[in-house]
């Protein structure tokens, strides 16, 4: 079904249209929420769609714009959840394996290198904004402008973040030391 027809039915309150929108975009929204590090992915994903359905009468645009709307809501919900989590200090019993002050062995480094084929691990080494840009561009078909809209940044900033993120991934995959990580992070945040 064409998105405009779907949108028209959704504006009329047809439940099947809402179900179709959910089935089309729930995976992307959940993936984005998951990559952003949210703990309760199901809750946030459902909240995002409920908020989007409640305001669909005021929405104007194409399907990419609707995805951008979903991801914008998702991003804000994730930020809210992370802020709530940051206010609560987690208390957990001490475990030797979880202590970051312990010195890693050479075997650990070798094992990490062996499992470095998965891009997710390399993405984890990027800055949060670089990781968000790559996730948005990969997970969805958003343009640079729509990605900038979702992130609340300028297009030029998004271009720079994307270029440095892909370069860092390339270096990480090639096993090169990432000398530009700190500098790119400082430039991106500036």
């Amino acid at each position: 079904m064409d998105f405009q027809d779907l949108l028209r039915d959704a504006r009329l309150g047809e439940g099947t249209a809402f179900a179709e929108l959910w089935s089309r975009h729930a995976t992307r929204v959940a993936g984005f929420v998951r990559v952003r590090g949210a703990t309760d992915v199901e809750e946030i994903t459902s909240d995002v769609f409920v908020a989007a359905f409640e305001g669909i009468g005021r929405f104007e645009g194409d399907e990419a714009g609707f995805v951008a709307l979903l991801l914008t809501i998702a991003r804000r919900r994730v930020v809210d959840e992370q802020r709530r989590r940051s206010r609560r200090v987690p208390v957990a019993p001490w475990e030797a394996e979880d202590d970051v002050r312990t010195v890693r062995s050479v075997e650990d480094d070798v094992l990490d290198r062996a499992t470095a084929d998965d891009l997710a691990d390399h993405l984890g080494r990027l800055t949060p904004e670089q990781r968000e840009v790559v996730t948005l561009r990969l997970l969805t078909d958003l343009s640079l402008e729509q990605t900038a809209q979702v992130m609340g940044k300028r297009v030029g900033t998004v271009k720079s973040l994307q270029r440095r993120a892909l370069d860092a991934l390339r270096r990480s995959l090639a096993g090169e030391p990432d000398n530009r990580h700190s500098s790119s992070h400082s430039e991106a945040t500036s």
């Binding site: 959704a10 504006r11 009329l12 309150g13 047809e14 439940g15 099947t16 809402f18 179900a19 959910w22 089935s23 729930a26 995976t27 992307r28 959940a30 993936g31 998951r34 990559v35 992915v41 199901e42 809750e43 994903t45 459902s46 909240d47 769609f49 409920v50 359905f53 409640e54 305001g55 669909i56 009468g57 005021r58 084929d117 891009l119 997710a120 390399h122 993405l123 790559v134 996730t135 561009r137 990969l138 997970l139 078909d141 271009k159 994307q162 270029r163 440095r164 892909l166 370069d167 991934l169 390339r170 995959l173 090639a174 530009r180």
Partner: protein, 275 residues
């Protein structure tokens, strides 16, 4: 490779990962493959089950397109009470304003406001005096100016008294003041009783001011005392309108009724002013 990626190279990588066939620079194939695999892995992740709040939207059937969650009940109740209070205050204010305007209008219409007292006193008795003998008084007022002002307080009583004494039946209570004293006297007794009426009106107006200028109430009371009983109701009916204006006039009331009695010329001037 130590150089940074260009923007075109980054866009080509993203395009390749999305399934496009953008040309890639050398050395970027591994990254493009990793990006495409990561995208496929993300897309293959099953969507989480919807929560009950969302499930209500996904069920087939019509739903409200825009379902806005309202404020909590206590906030709505607070707004409602505040709105009611404001509405009640506005209603009270509007009602008070309307009542005040209405009262002022009525008072102005009845000449009860200060400043209209000079005109009020003569007009009020004249408005009510025709009840005691409208045609005769009007004719007298036009014919003899001195009789009308003297008749304003007094003509009611003397006019009723002689007529009641002479005719008897016209002096019946109620009807005697309005109907009995008008046409019968005007038609039949103008020739005969006009002299009596005039004498009845002029006697208290001419004689008594000379003797008892300030004894209007006693004069009013004295008239009916001399007259037979049938004239008493007429006198009562005529006394009430004649005394009311002086009571409502306030401080200026007692003096002004005395002036016409004391000097018929002034009363005549007032009557001519009114006419």
């Amino acid at each position: 490779m130590t150089t940074l990626l260009t923007h075109d190279q980054a866009e080509a990588l993203i395009e390749r990962a999305r399934g496009g066939d953008a040309p890639l620079a050398s050395g970027l194939g591994q990254l493009a493959t990793a990006l495409a695999g990561h995208r496929a892995a993300l897309a293959a992740t099953p969507a989480p089950p919807p929560r009950p709040t969302l499930q209500a939207w996904l069920t087939p059937g019509p739903h409200a397109p825009v379902r806005v969650v309202g404020p909590p009940w206590w906030r709505r109740a607070l707004h409602m009470v505040a709105g009611l209070g404001l509405g009640v205050q506005v209603a009270i204010g509007a009602g008070a304003a309307v009542a005040a305007g209405l009262g002022i209008g009525i008072a102005h219409h009845q000449n009860l406001l200060p400043g209209g007292g000079s005109e009020q006193q003569p007009t009020a008795p004249l408005d009510r005096s025709p009840a005691s003998g409208a045609p005769s008084d009007e004719s007298d007022a036009t014919a003899d100016p001195t009789a009308a002002p003297a008749g304003t307080p007094t003509p009611v009583v003397p006019a009723g008294a002689p007529s009641g004494a002479s005719a008897g039946t016209p002096g019946q209570p109620g009807t005697g003041t309005s109907a009995g004293g008008t046409d019968d006297q005007g038609a039949e007794d103008q020739g005969d009783d006009s002299g009596q009426d005039d004498s009845g009106q002029e006697d208290p107006g001419q004689d008594e001011p000379g003797t008892d200028p300030g004894d209007d109430p006693s004069d009013h009371a004295g008239g009916p005392d001399d007259s037979p009983e049938p004239s008493e109701p007429a006198q009562e009916a005529s006394d009430e309108p004649s005394q009311e204006p002086s009571e409502t006039d306030g401080p200026g009331g007692p003096d002004e009724p005395d002036e016409p009695d004391a000097s018929p010329d002034q009363a005549g001037r007032a009557a001519s002013r009114l006419s």
